[in-house]
Symmetry: C2
Subunit: 157 residues, 2 copies
């Protein structure tokens, strides 16, 4: 439904929390307790982020996780990829239709348009750092302009 999974959600909660305490080692227990979320599930997400190299873990009694990188260096796209894979907006892209022989091609009228949507979304996430998720300038804009001949991602590309 065009929605992040719980795993991603939990991972983001953990990352933001850890970023607030840059450098410190914080346990899953503490984070889960703070936000009243499943300790186990949060743990699974942080494990995944650790395997992806975004976190470093410390075992043992006073163990826990800490950021492996500065918040400026972590892209949202990297986080999402670690927790639920890269988004593939159409089945064409997940099913390896190209190699398997997509029976819609070469007539498929949506594939490249959808790919543009996907790439635009992905690029947004690539350009959004964990830092940007923490800071809260948030002055969300006015009404979108009327949708006449607007191209998809009109950023001079």
């Amino acid at each position: 439904m065009l929605q992040f999974t719980k795993s991603t959600e939990y991972g983001l909660i953990g990352l933001v929390h850890l970023a607030d305490r840059r450098g410190e080692v914080v346990s899953v227990r503490e984070i889960a307790g703070t936000y009243k979320i499943s300790r186990r599930h949060l743990g699974e997400s942080l494990k995944a982020l650790c395997r992806a190299g975004l976190l470093k873990s410390q075992r043992g009694v006073h163990g826990g996780y800490r950021l492996a990188l500065e918040p400026e260096q972590v892209a949202l796209s990297t986080i999402v990829a670690a927790l639920e894979g890269e988004p593939a907006l159409t089945s064409c892209e997940t099913d390896h239709a190209e190699s398997a022989g997509c029976h819609v091609e070469p007539h498929c009228p949506i594939r490249s348009p959808i790919q543009r949507i996907r790439q635009g979304l992905w690029r947004q996430m690539e350009q959004t750092s964990l830092r940007a998720l923490i800071d809260e300038p948030l002055a969300l804009p006015g009404a979108p302009s009327p949708i006449e001949h607007l191209n998809l991602f009109p950023r001079g590309n």
Copy 2:
């Protein structure tokens, strides 16, 4: 998994096909046959688009669907909303947590950031017309810039 549903995919296929034949009435059979997709499922998607006012239907032997509006007037966001609802990137947003009492608030560190992501994606879709999905200027851009202090949607808002 941050992915459109099949219903949306089929709906987009139908819309693009119908836009190619602006004004003409085209049957589900023909569209499904062209792209070798499920006639029934495609039919369900087009029914939904019809209920949403994006298509007009004509019953009977030579019946089918045609666009109710010009491709320039239809936003991708409208299409997606009709076929799978507005995207809610976190469960906070679907569960009506605010009224029900989100037990993560007021500590939830991700809610507003995620909302910004969601709004940015949604705005992209609002600004993308069906026309833009048809036209294929497609000169997809170079490498994304390094992700230092980039804000989410730096469009002068």
